[in-house]
């Protein structure tokens, strides 16, 4: 009966994995459009605050480091589930989620600081483009954290074993993608003056 549920596919790839890769392809266009708009608008603001007045490279470097390191934890979580190590899976899934939460904490701090410095989503086009872009990225990280915590809970209950490693792998694809997007955002928005 199990064979009837999952007949072999034409490529040998699992449907879920292939579908998810397609979704990621689509997401690149989504973030591509958001990032392009930011690049067009970053110098277009007619009133301050301007990007160089508020963007804090040292602080964001720390949160970037945490987020990118969480990708390592994600790889280790996948490795653990493939080895069948429940404790390892749980540990690394939680570590990844905590990395994401720290990143979100930094983002909350950054947004609050900017608002105190007079930059809201309504202040100027830089503010609009910045908050919508990083806000959507943050929303993606939040979804990822919920996803990872759900997988961690299932692992703790013993419902994710070696045969379910694909579930962790797909969550990992998502997590790495969200990280890669952040590398682009960090480079283009923060590092390039």
């Amino acid at each position: 009966m199990e064979i009837a549920h999952h007949p072999p596919t034409a490529t040998g790839l699992d449907n879920r994995k292939l579908g998810f890769w397609t979704f990621i392809g689509s997401e690149t266009l989504f973030f591509g459009s958001l990032i392009s708009t930011y690049m067009v608008y970053k110098g277009a603001a007619v009133t301050g605050p301007y990007p160089h007045e508020v963007l804090n490279i040292p602080v964001t470097s720390v949160s970037t480091f945490v987020l990118l390191t969480s990708s390592l934890a994600m790889v280790l979580a996948l490795n653990a589930v493939q080895r069948g190590s429940r404790a390892g899976t749980l540990t690394w899934l939680l570590a990844t989620a905590i990395g994401g939460l720290i990143f979100l904490g930094f983002q909350a701090y950054e947004f609050t600081t900017f608002v105190h410095e007079g930059l809201t989503i309504q202040t100027n086009v830089f503010g609009s483009a910045f908050y919508v872009l990083t806000g959507f990225h943050g929303a993606h990280v939040s979804v990822g954290v919920l996803w990872l915590l759900t997988l961690a809970a299932l692992t703790a209950m013993g419902k994710i074993g070696r045969e379910d490693s694909l579930k962790v792998e797909i969550a990992g694809l998502y997590w790495h993608f969200v990280d890669v997007v952040w590398i682009v955002i960090f480079t283009l928005i923060y590092l390039i003056p």
């Binding site: 034409a10 490529t11 449907n15 689509s26 067009v40 608008y41 100027n124 086009v125 919508v132």
Partner: protein, 623 residues
Amino acid sequence: MADAIASERGPQRAHAEGHGAAALYTDPGGLWATIRGWITTVDHKRIGIMYASAALFFLLVGGLEALLIRVQLAVPENDFIGAETYNQLFTMHGTTMIFLVAMPLAVAFFNYIVPLQIGARDVAFPRLNALSFWVFLFGGLFLNSSWLFGAAPNTSWVGYANLTSVQYSPGLNVDFWVIGLSIVGISSLIGAINFITTIINLRAPGLTLMRMPLFTWMTFVTSWILATAIPVIAVALIFLAADRFFATNFFVPGAGGDPVLWQHLFWIFGHPEVYILILPSFGIISEVVPTFSRKPLFGYPIVVYAGILIGFIGWGVWSHHMFTTGLGPIADSFFVASTMIIAIPTGVKIFNWLATMWGGALRFTTAMLFAIGLVAIFTIGGLSGIMHASAPVDLQQHDSYFVVAHFHYTIVGGAVTGLFAGFYYWYPKVTGRLMSETLGKWHFWTFIVGFNLTFFPQHFVGLFGMPRRVFTYPAELGLGGWNMASTIGAFIFGVSTLIFVWNLIRSARRGTPAAANPWDAPTLEWSVPSPPPHYNFAEIPEVESRDPLWKGAAAGPDRAVATGGDEPHMPSPSAWPILTALGISLTWILLMARIWWVPLIGLAVTAVCVYSWAFQPAFRAES
């Protein structure tokens, strides 16, 4: 059950076996059970039928809007409807016909036909498929509910900034538009991902890419265009929604925002959208023409490559919609060149269809007539397209009725004509009965007369200087006669559409019963009974050629109907897709409250539904 296998050739036998349309499309337990069955269905065939039904409903709505527009324009200085109503009518006519009629009708065929053509039992993600449909339906209904508030969108289907800003459009009209389109877009994206996965992964053994039927190929290309173009319009709509609901400055010139950014984002989606509309119909007639010419498609690989090329180049032509924006000579030259280049693969296809018919044993069924109609009418639309591919010419024709004539020749003469061909061609597969050929020919000829009488004069009207999107015109312009001709044509076109709808309804009960392969067509969907059992193929076929039913081991309808206990196990129905669709729609609709946390209610509903969905097994024991 050798009998069941043999029975495939005779319609009466198929019905005697209990596989008639009535048995397939109702559920045991009465009306309520049937309604519940459809609401919770994950069967690609039922979802396809629902897509087609909803789209045909919207077709009648959009058609009525068109007729009201034409009555207003029939004579100069008419006061039948005022300017405000006129603005709402042409905006909703365009938005409805593109997003709620042409696209979902194509998706209806994707749904019903593609799994059958590739020898699969369903799509890759049956529940996501249901979600896709319900999100589309809710988005479409929400968009049209604006009529009830007297606040239908009124800024045209392209919704140019900054006319759509709160400052210039303070009412609810644009709110309905931006929210409705966002919801419908989500549906298209989910569907695209589903069909890409389905076509790559669920092909029957031996069905290599270069053996795939052309309709499946064009579905594949269209799905890629959707998967890449929808996120761009999504971003544009998010900016517009943010401007309207959260007072951001994306399209506020005073704050440094650039309204031209909207045009770029919109057309980066909007031009690929044109190919999203036309390629499925190119696919359909690439099935119909060979079948009724009794010849394999001429130059199959070239037709495939041309389709892929159109998909790629379609991404590099968007600014030909913006020549009047003033992008400068370098940008204009680039887009002139790319636009002329894209005509080449399109023209190649025209010649392939002609060469397929050349020397064939032609049968002029209604499906074939519509396919030939596409080749003829679309070519006229293509030629006028080449004219305003040239920037200087476009500067004269932009925003005139010439452009209206052009795109109706491509979208109605191309996309819709192909979809009509698809209806006549595949109707017997879906219902087990043929559509009436007599009514079909009435439909075809009234369509040809009505369509051309409506839109051909508009070329002249446009060249004589009548601008589009204006609710009336002075008598001194001297265009009353041409416009009256257009209006008469529109009513003939309307009658023709009613004949079509009547044919659809009537033939479901009174049409001639159809065998598994009534047209002697070559592709796999014709190897299963009409209508197909809910699992499609009892045994997955093996494919050895491009025309498996014309040659090779799989020739002839030979896919056995499973007997009682041996039926393949199919995914179970689920209520979560429709509930999730409600949650997604609610999230967007609640933006209209203009309180930042209210949409979070919809988001919470969506989250609950998504979790319930994820923990519900796709296959459950029958209760």
